[in-house]
């Protein structure tokens, strides 16, 4: 039996079957329970772990429907609309879920009804039933008010008013109840009676399309996994092609026979539906996973879902080389992004500022959009470059020394360089319209040392300090 602190008092948060038989219930203060049964075994509740376990069960339930929502501390709501026939009907599906979970060692109660609230009530009081459409009101009437799972003040108020069952509550006039308990309670009651339904909020985003393949005998070898992904991709491509769409993000979900679920996603720069490309990208991804896919006793279900799709133009074989080139580059970028992460493969775009380190953006090449800004050269024809080829992200402090003979030395990274040429300053003021107190303006100088190395350094602040910002070619 577990115990947790609720409303500043220790209350029971979970009880086992034996304790229930002895008359203990969830929500009872621990002191009361101890008074009834001094020999109680009590452990502290571990809510984060409970939630984690519930999430894992929800992951496992994903195999029945993608629409799984967490409900309170110990419930799951599955929207099986349109999914039940795949498992041999509603009763068969419900039995299968309950039996499988029981086999995994959980105590399960489950029911199926037209609305979430009704299903929850029946799960508590009529375990294992499937309520036919339209029969909710009739079936729920004899259940106690607590089945509505209202807050305990409302439940208590009903009980004091003599309304012991849901049916009795439902027989009262709606206007009276709205005035007394608010519209929210009436909405819940209506839903419990099977009128109107509120949408569940699914735990994971619902994919636009998916295809899956179940296996009677769990599979574990890489070749089979790859072949499965490829055939799923081909099946998915058919659907996408009919709709004239392509996937930007695909997710492969591997359901392991022992209940563990692994999700692996790939992203594409352009809408894609080519099975060979998809299979290739997944292979790259599976090869480079830091935490490799562990088949354990094998996967009994593999699902491929397109979680982001976009309109894709009809692919016409093009004789224009530049378009094929673009597609080739796109595929290369996707492959490198899959392998190294999309933040690692970058393309450059100009940025509308004169601050040297911000004058361009290095954006993930997969997502880069064409811009109207143009690259503008700072130098005029015939001039030497005005900006260095390599720029230090953090300007490095340097010192400029003047020797007795008047020659100047630059000291950078503990090495002195004799200054042969120097040009400046080029003053770059910081953007006062962006900052309340802009950083001090910088005076940039170009320097060349005796060996020909060309530096870009600036002086800023009061007293002035020198920083090396970049190195020219």
């Amino acid at each position: 039996m577990a115990v947790a602190k609720v409303d500043n008092a220790l209350r029971l948060s979970a009880v086992d079957r034996k304790a229930t038989a002895l008359g203990l219930a969830i929500g009872q203060p621990l002191a009361n329970a101890r008074a009834m049964l001094p020999a109680l075994t009590v452990v502290a509740a571990n809510e984060p772990d409970d939630l984690k376990l519930l999430t894992r069960i929800a992951d496992w339930c994903d195999r029945f429907t993608p629409h799984v929502a967490l409900d309170g501390p110990r419930g799951l709501l599955l929207d099986v609309t349109g999914a039940a026939h795949l498992f041999g009907g509603e009763q068969a599906l419900l039995n299968r879920i309950r039996e499988s979970l029981k086999a995994q060692g959980f105590a399960v109660r489950g029911a199926m009804a037209g609305t979430a609230i009704a299903a929850r009530a029946f799960a508590r009081y009529r375990d294992g039933t499937v309520i036919a459409p339209g029969e909710e009101a009739e079936m729920i009437a004899p259940l106690p008010v607590a089945a509505l799972n209202l807050d305990h003040i409302t439940t208590h108020a009903f009980r004091r008013a003599g309304l012991k069952t849901v049916g009795q509550v439902a027989s009262r006039k709606r206007a009276e109840m709205t005035a007394r308990f608010g519209a929210g309670m009436v909405a819940i009651l209506d839903e419990a009676l099977g009128h109107g339904t509120r949408p569940l909020s699914p735990r994971l985003p619902i994919p636009d399309y998916w295809k899956e393949q179940g296996f009677a005998e769990p599979i574990a070898t890489e070749e089979v996994i790859r072949a499965t992904l490829k055939s799923l991709a081909a099946a998915l491509a058919d659907v996408l092609e009919k709709r004239g769409e392509g996937a930007r993000r695909l997710e492969a979900v591997f359901f392991r026979a022992d209940g563990a679920v692994r999700r692996i996603a790939i992203e594409m720069g352009v809408p894609t539906r080519e099975p060979a490309v998809i299979e290739r990208l997944f292979r790259e991804k599976l090869d480079t996973l830091a935490d490799p896919l562990d088949p354990g006793f094998g996967f009994d279900l593999i699902r491929l879902s397109a979680s982001r799709v976009e309109r894709a133009h009809c692919e016409v074989v093009d004789f224009d080389a530049s378009i094929n080139e673009k597609a080739d580059i796109g595929f290369l970028v996707d492959r490198l992004a899959t392998r190294f992460g999309s933040q690692r493969i970058l393309a450059f775009q100009p940025n509308d500022t004169h601050i040297p380190e911000a004058a361009w953006l290095a954006l993930p090449a997969q997502y880069v959009q064409p811009t109207k800004l143009m690259w503008k050269k700072l130098r005029s024809v015939g001039d030497a470059p005005r900006r260095p080829l390599r720029l230090f992200t953090r300007p490095e402090p340097v010192t400029l020394l003047a020797t007795a003979s008047g020659a100047q030395h630059l000291r950078w990274r503990k090495v002195q360089h004799a200054v042969a040429q120097c040009e400046g300053p080029e003053r770059i003021a910081m953007e006062w319209w962006r900052h309340e107190t802009p950083p001090p303006a910088r005076d940039y100088f170009r320097l060349e040392d005796g060996e020909g190395r060309r530096y870009w350094l600036y002086r800023a602040g009061m007293p002035p300090q020198w920083f090396l910002h970049g190195v020219f070619a």
């Binding site: 580059i329 970058l346 050269k377 015939g382 030497a384 390599r390 060996e451 020909g452 190195v471 070619a473």
Partner: protein, 251 residues
Amino acid sequence: MRAEKIAALRASLARPGLAEASIRVPIGHAAADLCLKGGLEPGVLHEVFAGLGHEAAATGFTAGLAARVSLGKRLLWIRQDFSALEFGELSATGFLEFGLNPARLLLLCVGDAAGALRAANDALSCAALGAVVIEIAGRPKILDLMASRRLTLACAQKNVTAFLLRFNAEPEASTAVTRWLVRAAPSPPQAENWGHPVFEAGLVRNRHGRTGEWVMEWNCDDGLFKEADRGAVVSAPSDRPAAAARQAASL
């Protein structure tokens, strides 16, 4: 299998007519082009070693070669994370000023040399790329003769040129067709307009001809290397007031 491939590749390289007929891309510097039998060979591996402390110069030189050989196609530049901290991040405005359109550049950041080589081998199979620059600092064990062979083979498949840009490293055995040793060279003294990218480029290995050493200047406007203007081609007239004054001062 691999040995066969290498043999086939060697044979194709050794075939007399083909080697002469293969298109060369002139880099612009007359003497160097002569040594290279008309220019840089595309679809092979080239190495550029930076002199100690001359990493930016080697970057510029490689950018110049890659810009020449890629003929307007896109360029992939692979660099290690460490490289950006130690030698400076590649700057788009810097490339623009250098005369290479940054829109043509793709930058891939990798953690280590193994990742860089792997990515390079992938990228070289993309015919739409003009060149791949692999920037590697130090002397990682993984970069051996075998790795350079692999790069050469990958280059040959789709005729994409690879440049191995090495910092803080000594030349080792490799299958590269050319190997350059690059340092920055001083701008001509007393030049009004100084600071052009001038390199002291040593061609220390050349599979097809002689080696040599030149001082080259990259022309940022034309996108070509040229003979560096040493300032001494036309000697300064000694009777003009400025020079006369200097002479008087030195006496």
